[in-house]
């Protein structure tokens, strides 16, 4: 590990030996993350395709079943996530401007919004469980019992929001991780790749919700 190691001023960060410059390393990481985001979209893509197919097959059913979702909580959650995206973007900006204290505050705010989202989701889920609005074979809700296909809607609802929820949790873990590293003074305007990447990931998680919300809650 002796070849061409460049140490960046201000932080203890070393450019990995197989890169020529810090810029090349940053560009590579960014390209890598964009590719990863593409795979995330494709992962959800499968669920979106299933949604489109079944909604096309049973439009009326999707309409009635969707009435059983709580539009108010869904809307609040949408606003909460948009705010969290904003605060994450500000956090990245502050790191880039060598303002770690502000950056930490913004990251904490982001975590707070993310936690709110999960709590509201928890409330919604318990309510659904309570009413027997469960996926597929576990469905016991009496009001929708007349429609044998009704459980399908809730299968998709739980798969889509559940997978999204897992992504929110992962995102919270990642934000905590960069927060800790930032606290140790590892980032500055010359090296902040992890913060930037976690920010991008977080925006994608928000973006997916922006699509899930109207598709599931606002079928009119």
């Amino acid at each position: 590990m002796t070849h061409g190691e460049t140490v960046i001023a201000e932080t203890k960060h070393k450019v990995p030996h197989h890169f020529d410059s810090a810029e090349q390393a940053f560009e590579s990481s960014k390209l890598g993350l964009w590719l990863f985001l593409v795979t995330e979209i494709l992962l959800f893509g499968g669920l979106f395709v299933a949604y489109v197919i079944f909604r096309g097959l049973y439009p009326d059913l999707f309409h009635t079943a969707s009435q059983h979702l709580n539009k108010i909580l869904g809307s609040i959650n949408t606003v909460v996530l948009i705010c969290s995206s904003l605060s994450m973007a500000l956090a990245v900006d502050r790191v880039r401007q060598n303002d770690p204290n502000k950056a930490h505050q913004y990251m904490l705010v982001t975590l707070f919004f993310a936690a709110c989202f999960m709590i509201i989701k928890y409330v919604e889920y318990t309510h659904k469980f309570h009413e027997g609005l469960l996926p597929g074979g576990n469905f016991t809700n009496a009001a929708l019992a007349g429609d044998p296909k009704a459980p399908l809607f809730f299968s998709l609802y739980f798969m889509m929001t559940g997978l999204h929820g897992i992504h929110v949790l992962v995102g919270m873990g990642l934000i905590t991780w960069v927060l800790i590293r930032s606290n140790r003074g590892e980032f500055s305007s010359s090296y902040y790749t992890p913060v930037e990447l976690v920010g991008l990931y977080w925006h994608l998680v928000d973006l997916i919700w922006i699509y899930l919300f109207p598709l599931l809650y606002l079928i009119g």
Partner: protein, 532 residues
């Protein structure tokens, strides 16, 4: 940089098991993948021999129908997910892609190691499934049977999910490496064709694998939570599963073959001592194949109740794949024309590839023709087709590459005549085993049954005897490969007179590949001046 005159090679430097298990060196990770996948090739091969033994004579020969169902599932799942998908990109690609573009490593070395361990975790889950209640669904896991089967479908598909994640990370790593780590002068049009092939493969890995991810996840939920999306009894659609599955698995067959084609593009010019004919055509046909491969999945479902229109579209699109494929075959053949051909073992395998892959590709066209497929679907004809492309193609490419690069990887030459004999056994054995199956399929013998009417007995016997030739050939190969490691003597840096960068450095390479980052000034296959 110049201070490191004599650095140890990557195999012995640093030393110790720990240094291997925690290595971030792409060459060591490549070898670890190779050892792992070759082990699975061995295990999958044992199941293949057992399947052939059962089919040697009609009726019960060796095992019950239930055991047979499990064994062909194990064989298929192991060979596809644990051997043929990772073996060339993750093993040989990992080793040679960075060297061939003049880089010290892949873009993300730690991610590379992580993807190896993720692969191990996925493989462990699948092996666990086999030891728990097994699986009897076939490697395709078709619903609704896979929802009802009382075997360990959840575990094995979870394993596939995890291994898919590993495959994505490898592909992602390679794409970034090719874009960002090429050495000075290494333009895209100077990259060796193996790099182009791995690059095209990586694109498919990144774009197709997430879909098998969500498919397996849905199947797992189907079993755990009865979500019913693929279950007609709960309002779902079983054919939707087939669409999802093949949306990945057809592109995946190009994850399997493109790297093999890449190796052939390296070996043929070196052993014909000629510049490759149609460099750009071969390079871009890899990308064309990658693109078209996403549009043809429906050819697996001609008799699954697709609409006639969909069938016709998929049939035509499938035939389109043959165009870039044929472009490659013609260019390789044209490279041979008036070359000074040297029939060393790598070249024997490359020529076998040309011969057998062409049979596999052409019979693919038979299957792509709608009316013919109605007769041939789910018969041994399909089995023969995909073995001609996967074993006659990919495995021949792999073996060409292994013999070609063995001196570079280990600094040892193998015994040429043992290798030639082993090649002969494999060539004869393969064609005996699988050419017969074209006839069996054409005569109507369905696949995936442990029994058959006595009319098919003769051809099945020949096929089973062929599998023993394969066994003998591979056993000999394992022997001479392993023995070569203990032989005295050292392979020269460039035993075949190759022009690409990996031949310009020591055998085996040093830890960081190049003493000094090279600058490239010409094309990768400039022959005509070199003398052996």
């Amino acid at each position: 940089m110049s201070g490191h005159a004599e650095v140890g090679n990557y195999l012995t430097h640093p030393k110790g098991l720990r240094s291997w298990l925690t290595t971030v060196d792409h060459k060591r990770i490549g070898l670890m993948y190779m050892a792992t996948s070759m082990t699975f090739f061995f295990v999958g091969g044992i199941f293949a021999l057992l399947i052939r033994l059962e089919l040697m004579t009609p009726g019960l020969t060796l095992m019950s129908a239930d055991t047979y169902n499990k064994f062909f599932t194990y064989h298929g799942a192991i060979m596809i997910f644990m051997f043929i998908i990772p073996i060339i990109p993750a093993a040989l690609g990992n080793f040679f892609l960075p060297i061939m573009i003049g880089a010290k490593d892949v873009a993300f070395p730690r991610l590379n190691l992580a993807s190896y361990y993720i692969f191990i975790a996925g493989a462990a889950l699948s092996v666990w499934a086999l030891m728990a209640h097994g699986a009897d669904t076939g490697w395709t896991f078709y619903t609704p049977y896979s929802i009802r089967s009382n075997t360990s479908v959840v575990l094995i598909t979870l394993g596939v999910f995890v291994m898919g994640f590993s495959s994505i990370l490898t592909g992602l790593n390679f794409i970034v490496t090719v874009h960002k780590l090429r050495c000075p002068g290494m333009t895209f049009h100077r990259m060796p064709l193996f790099v182009w092939a791995i690059y095209a493969t990586a694109i498919i890995q990144v774009l197709a694998t997430p879909v098998i991810g969500i498919t397996t996840l849905l199947l797992i939920m189907e079993r755990l939570l009865k979500i019913g999306i693929f279950d007609p009894a709960l309002g779902g659609d079983a054919v939707l599963f087939q669409h999802f599955f093949w949306f990945y698995s057809h592109p995946a067959v190009y994850i399997m073959i493109l790297p093999g084609m890449g190796i052939i593009s390296e070996v043929i010019p070196v052993f014909a001592r000629k510049h490759i004919f149609g460099y750009k055509a071969i390079a871009y046909s890899s990308l064309a194949i990658a693109g078209i491969s996403f549009l043809v999945w429906g050819h697996h479902m001609f008799v699954s109740g697709q609409s006639d229109l969909a069938n016709m579209l998929f049939s035509v699109l499938t035939m389109f794949v043959a165009i870039p494929t044929a472009i490659k075959v013609f260019n390789w053949t044209a490279t041979l024309y008036k070359g000074s051909i040297s029939l060393k073992t790598p070249m024997l395998y490359a020529l076998s590839f040309l011969f057998m892959f062409t049979i596999g590709g052409l019979t693919g066209l038979f299957l792509a023709a709608l009316s013919v497929d109605v007769h041939l679907h789910d018969t041994y004809f399909v089995v023969a087709h995909f073995h001609y492309v996967m074993m006659g193609g990919t495995v021949m490419g792999l073996l060409a590459g292994l013999h070609y690069w063995w001196p570079k990887m280990f600094g040892k030459m193998v015994h040429e005549w043992s290798a030639k004999i082993s090649w002969g056994l494999i060539f004869i054995g393969f064609n005996m085993t699988f050419f017969t199956q074209f006839f069996l399929g054409y005569l109507g013998m369905p696949r995936r049954y442990y029994d058959y009417p006595p009319e098919y007995a003769g051809l099945n016997m020949i096929s089973t005897i062929g599998s023993w030739f394969l066994l003998a050939g591979f056993a000999l190969m394992a022997f001479y490969f392993i023995r070569s490691l203990f032989l005295p003597g050292k392979a020269p840096a460039n035993p075949w007179g190759g022009k690409t960068l990996e031949w310009q450095i020591a055998s085996p390479p040093t830890e960081h590949n190049f003493p000094e980052i090279p600058t490239v000034t010409g094309k990768p296959y400039d022959y005509g001046v070199v003398k052996l």
